[in-house]
């Protein structure tokens, strides 16, 4: 049931990338797509009644939820941050050159 949220986010993100015409909206939608996948990843490690995977005195290691997806999602979020930063800075430079964010206008390569 929880995975449904991830699917909804993924569809929203993909819809945004394919349909929207504004560069910044495409960048935001791309981020949403990535985060949907990360959410899915973190949810996979869940164990019913599991504890947070932090070593505190008194909590046994066997009752942890899976810590590997959490570490991987952390890494992937940082990668996503770098990608989004680069995408937005390219979009800003495009705005300087063409004066618009609309992708129908910035099609010099078609000629």
């Amino acid at each position: 049931m929880m995975y449904l949220l991830s699917l909804v986010l993924l569809i929203i993100g993909l819809y945004g990338v394919l349909v929207k015409r504004n560069l910044i909206k495409i960048a935001i939608a791309l981020s949403i797509t990535e985060y949907a996948i990360f959410l899915f990843f973190a949810l996979i490690g869940y164990k019913k009644g599991g504890a947070a995977p932090i070593l505190v005195e008194g909590v046994k290691a066997e009752s942890f939820v899976d810590p590997i997806p959490q570490a991987l999602v952390l890494t992937a979020i940082v990668i996503g941050l770098g990608t989004t930063a680069l995408l937005v800075s390219i979009a800003v430079r495009i705005y300087e050159k063409y004066g618009t964010f609309d992708i129908r206008e910035i099609s010099k390569l078609r000629k």
Partner: protein
């Protein structure tokens, strides 16, 4: 954990990642102080990496455990780096093309704004590619793949003209969607096997066989890595991204990046972790043939030099995938040989186009003419490269394409062999057009003052051209046994990879 004693010879593995990483982090600090330092440092680093990779020829299979974390009660918990025959081959190619592109960039990038940042991104791209090649852990491979990909997005946008920015944006959006699909595949395979170590994964999947989840994962990986490798129907970003990048970056992108990030990762995962079935082999072979024909047909109508080369990249990558998709040892050998050859001659062609742009300022074939009289080195090397890519003996392209066609016939799929041969003929036609319009013929009016390019750029081109000839010798039994056969064996070993890595 107590540090285990390291087996001799495996210390070399992390150096491939550590040396360029350190240089890339050092460069922004020192680049402002000494103006000539970035060139020197980057070229030194690339040269040392090349020498290191050549010394790995003939190494036995080596496993390096990062941080000394080995196995705990039989389950590998650390991040491994693995060196086997295929890794050696790819490492040599990556570092060779990296070195020649770095040589070329010394003069060429003088026309752009910031050399320090350029070399930082360039070295980061090399870090990423070396990391993908050496990685023995699936998520580690993904992290390095992203490092290389992000560096390449920034490099494509380097000139900050309108066209380049637009191409970089499109490339980045499509590349990120590909990475998303790859992560989804990693998620499913992790949840199925419970481990991220590639050898361990192979063992578990080999024991339990294929089911629909593995099929879904293979599908996701083919889509994701196929987009990075620019197979048809995932090729739409390549004709915009590769011409817009500066020439040495295009050489790296077309020559190694699409191959390491796309083909190497795909083949490693499909052959060694998931294990090949006839269905997957057929899919690969069909995608290969589609790419061969699609690439050449789309290239026939092009008048922009670099865009034409980019379309031909799609076609040649199709040959490699076709060779691998046959599944026979001869086919894989042919595919890997073409891997090497295509890197060398495609990089040479892109460096030639860079030299043409440096001297004349244009990429349009209709405006060029008679350049071989003004630029003899560029003209000769481009003739050599064109004959290689078209498959004319005695250059290397002929032999690798011949092996692939023979392997098709040997397996009984004569139809595929016919398509491959037709693609080769059309490639020949396309490059005869390039030669005729750009290099032979009369010198046009505005090009009267064109001179040959500076020394280092000529050196890089000559190095690659000599290799085009020498690589045909790779088929001789001594060299074949040293380089090509261990690589092909690493793939045909299939699921035995896991036993070899974990046992050693």
């Amino acid at each position: 954990m107590n540090p285990e004693t390291i087996p001799t010879g495996s210390n070399i593995l992390p150096l491939f990642v550590a040396i360029p990483l350190g240089a890339a982090f050092l460069m922004p600090l020192l680049g402002k102080l000494f103006p000539r330092l970035p060139d020197l440092l980057a070229n030194l680093v690339c040269l040392s990496l090349l020498i290191l990779s050549i010394t790995t020829i003939g190494h036995p299979l080596t496993v390096y455990k990062m941080g000394g974390w080995g196995s705990a009660s039989g389950i590998p918990v650390g991040i491994f780096m693995v060196l086997d025959g295929l890794t050696v081959l790819v490492l040599i190619i990556v570092n060779l093309i990296g070195f020649t592109s770095a040589l070329f960039s010394v003069e060429y990038m003088g026309k752009y704004t910031d050399k320090t940042k350029y070399y930082t991104l360039f070295l980061l791209m090399i870090v990423g590619m070396n990391g993908v090649t050496l990685s023995g852990d699936l998520f580690n491979m993904y992290v390095f793949l992203e490092v290389a990909a992000i560096a390449s997005y920034a490099l494509v946008a380097f000139g900050t003209e309108g066209e380049e920015l637009e191409a970089a944006f499109k490339y980045q959006v499509m590349g990120t969607i590909a990475s998303t699909m790859i992560v989804l595949g990693i998620i499913f395979i992790y949840s199925y096997t419970g481990t991220l170590n590639m050898a361990d994964m192979g063992k578990i999947i080999g024991a339990s066989g294929h089911n629909r989840l593995i099929l879904l994962v293979s599908c996701l990986f083919i889509m994701g890595f196929g987009l990075k490798a620019a197979l048809i129907p995932f090729h739409a970003w390549l004709p915009d991204a590769h011409p817009s990048a500066p020439a040495p970056v295009s050489a790296m992108l077309s020559g190694v990046l699409i191959k390491v990030l796309g083909i190497y990762a795909l083949l490693r995962i499909l052959f060694n972790i998931i294990g090949m079935t006839t269905l997957l082999l057929n899919v690969l072979a069909i995608l290969g043939v589609l790419s061969i024909m699609g690439g050449v047909l789309l290239a026939l109508g092009q008048w922009d030099f670099k865009r034409l080369l980019a379309y031909h990249s799609i076609s040649q990558v199709g040959y490699i995938i076709l060779g691998a998709g046959l599944g026979t040892p001869l086919g894989i050998l042919g595919g890997l040989f073409h891997f090497i050859n295509h890197s060398v001659f495609k990089s040479l062609l892109f460096l030639n186009s860079g030299a043409v742009v440096y001297s004349t300022g244009t990429r349009d074939l209709k405006k060029l003419g008679g350049l071989s009289r003004k630029m003899p080195v560029t003209g000769t090397t481009s003739m050599i490269a064109s004959m290689s890519i078209a498959g004319i003996p005695p250059f290397n392209g002929f032999f690798s394409k011949l092996i692939i066609i023979l392997a098709c016939i040997q397996k009984g799929r004569v139809g595929l062999a016919v398509w491959a041969a037709v693609g080769s003929v059309l490639t020949l036609a396309s490059f005869m057009k390039v030669q005729k319009y750009a290099f032979l013929g009369e010198v046009k009016e505005p090009l009267e003052n064109v001179k040959e390019v500076p020394f280092l750029m000529r050196l890089a081109q000559i190095l690659l051209a000599i290799l085009c000839l020498l690589l045909s010798l790779l088929l001789l039994p001594q060299f074949r046994g040293a380089i090509l056969e261990p690589a092909a064996k690493a793939l045909t070993n299939g699921l035995k990879y896991s036993g070899i890595v974990l046992g050693g």
